[in-house]
């Protein structure tokens, strides 16, 4: 392995742009996410050559080709497994994983849950557009029931995944949600993801304006955003609404919406990122925005936990073995029982 001597932590966003033409459809939410990533990364103090972007297959997975870092565009669903091997071999690298809802939750579902439980220190950016973009518009595992697409002319009959609930169930140590249309929030979350040691799972609502335009409109459009979204912050009460006039209160385990008028902020649910049970309830804020009395959709860091990463544990066992003396190849080849023929 080459010795890394000089590092290069000083670079601009522009230097993260490659000479390749970006091939996403005009108006695609992927552009904004790329822009936010390119904006945030130079602020993280990571030498450029230590950055690796690994992706699977899908529109979103073209991402590495547009990042002037090390990158691999792999095969459908397996970026998680590739990143696991890379991180196991090279704990020193900063590994970012770009995947879609089909890539991560359908074909790659198995690898995703295992990545999370093992807690490799990688940052997962899950571009959720609730559709298969690259294959031109079939329903995905996050498409809502009844979704009419090319492959479901009478409406999808699959019940969709709730991605963050799934990830929490898979022992994830960091789950967060953001969206393509809120650059400031997305940048904050990206930074938080980078800070977290362990697998950081960031679900990003991304508009596919060609095959699923407006899927997240209620959360992104000015007219409805304030009423339909809930931006959560550690230590802060759960407040939302156009005039910050609504809050969430916990009634036992049941979240209820209360008007702030007449209720003290102190009675509201205070967000605690380290509370797994409450995080689990938060991931269940997932009902159909058209339904009467539905809860707003949370954005922000739901849950975070410090747990040993796989690569740390692996290194530790290695060091423990090495501390008793490095392996002697000749002794290994010789084994315990030999005989000599003169």
């Amino acid at each position: 392995m080459t010795e890394i001597t000089a590092t290069s932590t000083a670079y601009t966003s522009k230097e993260l742009v490659t000479d390749q033409d970006v091939r996403w459809c005009p108006g695609c939410g992927d552009y904004s996410i790329l822009k936010q990533v390119q904006t945030v990364i130079p602020e993280l103090g990571i030498p450029k050559e230590q950055l690796v972007f690994v992706s699977g297959i899908g529109c979103s997975s073209r991402f590495p080709y547009y990042m002037e870092t090390f990158g691999m565009h792999s095969i459908h669903g397996r970026a998680t497994a590739i990143a696991s091997g890379l991180k196991a071999a090279r704990p020193d690298l900063s590994v970012w994983l770009v995947t879609g809802d089909g890539d991560a939750l359908s074909i790659g579902g198995n690898h995703l849950i295992h990545l999370l439980r093992r807690n490799f220190d990688v940052n997962v950016l899950l571009f959720n557009n609730q559709i298969y973009g690259l294959t031109k518009g079939q329903y995905s595992p996050t498409s809502e029931k009844g979704k009419v697409t090319k492959s479901s002319p009478m409406g999808a009959i699959d019940h969709p995944f709730n991605p963050l609930a799934l990830c929490l169930g898979a022992e994830s140590t960091f789950i967060a949600r953001s969206m393509d249309r809120d650059p400031i929030h997305l940048r904050t979350i990206l930074k938080r993801a980078n800070q977290h040691k362990g697998t950081s799972m960031v679900e990003i609502y991304q508009n596919c304006n060609v095959f699923n335009d407006g899927a997240f409109e209620v959360f992104t459009e000015k007219s409805s955003k304030a009423e339909e979204t809930l931006f959560i912050e550690h230590g802060q009460p759960l407040v939302f609404g156009a005039n910050k006039n609504k809050g969430i209160k916990l009634d036992g385990f049941k979240p209820t919406i209360v008007e702030l008028e007449g209720n003290s902020v102190n009675d509201l649910w205070i967000h605690d990122e380290t509370d797994r049970v409450k995080a689990s309830i938060l991931t269940r804020f997932f009902d159909d925005p058209a339904k009467e009395g539905h809860l707003p959709r949370p954005f922000g860091v739901f849950y975070t936990e410090n747990r040993f990463t796989y690569e740390e544990a692996m290194e530790q066992q290695l060091q423990e073995s090495l501390s008793k003396g490095e392996g002697d190849l000749d002794a290994l080849l010789r084994g315990n029982n030999t005989w000599t023929v003169a």
């Binding site: 890394i4 230590q50 792999s74 497994a81 091997g85 690898h111």
Partner: protein
Amino acid sequence: MNKTIELKKDVTILFAGDSGDGIQLTGTQFTNTNALFGNDLSTFPNFPAEIRAPQGTLAGVSGFQLHFGSIEIYTPGDDCDVLVVMNAAALKANLKQLKQGGVIIANIDGFDPKNLKLSKYPDGVNPLEDNSLANYKVFKLDITKMTKAALADSGLGIKEIDRTKNMFVLGFILWMYNRSLDNSLNYIKEQFKKKPEIVEANTKVLKAGYHFGETSETFMTRYQVEKATMKPGTYRNIMGNQATALGLIAAAKKAGLQLFYGTYPITPASDILHELSKHKKFGVKTFQAEDEIAAVASAIGASFGGALGVTASSGPGIALKGEAIGLALMLELPLVLINVQRGGPSTGLPTKTEQADLLQAIYGRNGESPVAVIAAQSPSDCFDTVIEATRLAVEHMLPVFFLSDGYIANGAEPWKFPQSSELPTIKPVFATINSKTEDGKYLPYKRDEKLSREWAIPGTKGLEHRIGGIEKEHETGNISYDPANHEFMVKMRQAKVDKIADYIPLQTIDSGGAKGKLLIVGWGSTYGSITAAVKQALAEGLEVSHVHIKYLNPFPKNLGEILNNFDKIIVPEMNNGQLVRLLRDKYLVPAQGFNKIKGIPFTAKEIKDKIDEVLAN
């Protein structure tokens, strides 16, 4: 008592019993003792597919065959001279393996009505009593009773006592072949270090078995198998999977690379994982992935990071890895792919051997996806061959298949192990900042005279670049859908594999002349049977030669020339005819297949008979 000693050149002995009878241990211990004594030998364990098949049934029979001698030994033996059976099922399952006039040593406790019924002998029939074994020399021992007697005052429970039965058998066999108990005594001491009462019990029973031979009036003859004349040097005994694991550690060390082994358990490949996971002090990282796809993908990730990425499986798992292998060859990263073949298709015969994945290795992926393929021919040869697979993968930057199979993976033989200093050095070529072009660009797919590219690993300043599985432009690696470029790249990847022929040894002739009437062409684990058969035929003055191909893709450059020097070509394979197709396809020679697809290896006799038949026509 005055006992006679009869000299034997070689002996084949088969230990058989219930999976729980400790048969594998008895076999291994007897093997090691003979190896230490200086015999040449070859072994073949035969496991049932079920872990704990009902006791006493035919499905639960486990066997261990050992062929040892003062002469050169190439196979675990066609037929047995001696059959040791712990119960009726073991006799029923293995009697056909015993030579006429051979010796049967039977534990009569295993022939009680219950055992006879479980092994499906007709009501009232006991083969030990009905004279049906008149053509064999049968010795009936009440091993269970004698074991109990030996441990009468030990204070151990019935179960624990019963578990030491195999030591009685071992002790007795050691007596019969005039061997010392020392190696087994040491083993017992080491194995049960923490349980002195168990050490004592096993020692007692082992000695009781030996003593029984000495004093019994039934056994008046002992046998002596002298040392073999082997090449001078220091030897050890080694199994194929173990040799593969050691070879990987050695190869990584010789290449100066970290070894990363990503795999998912599967018979008969899992023992490589078990072995490697013990050797962390060599810096080995083993990763038990969630499935075979993740296993190969993790190895690719590790290779991308500059480690030696290795993955292993058997047929069904290799099928799952197909897409990712295609990715690795598009990325042009080193990847060692181990296939310990077993009977297929689908789950097939998990514990049986076969050579039916050759075409899968060469062709089994979508698109034009050439990779290098090499095969080991014996347990110890796994060591050299997996090092060679690593050399090709690292120096030519591509996936290389290393084919082994259940037969050599679990088989053992003496190995004149090398000094680490004698092993070939493997030279990875890493890209550095100097790899950039004059105008400061880095071309990840710029090729050298081998048509190979440099290994540009993350962390190397200034070499940031992207690679992927989508068709790429020559040299730059950028995505390209250009028709002419695709055709160019497909041919380039083929040329790159073909080019390896310039960097591997020429094909040699294993035995026989360079020209003649008949050539036997083999690959992989058939080496032993073919060698034994051809040597015998040559001794009888027959005009036959043997070529054994290690490099299956690409073939050695002179292979066609050799094939053309013979009137007839026979290709014995444990499959329905795979190498034979490749040879016919590439060299347009009238090669004929000779196939055995029974989950068990060829016997030397089967091949010798074929030679006789072909030469008679």
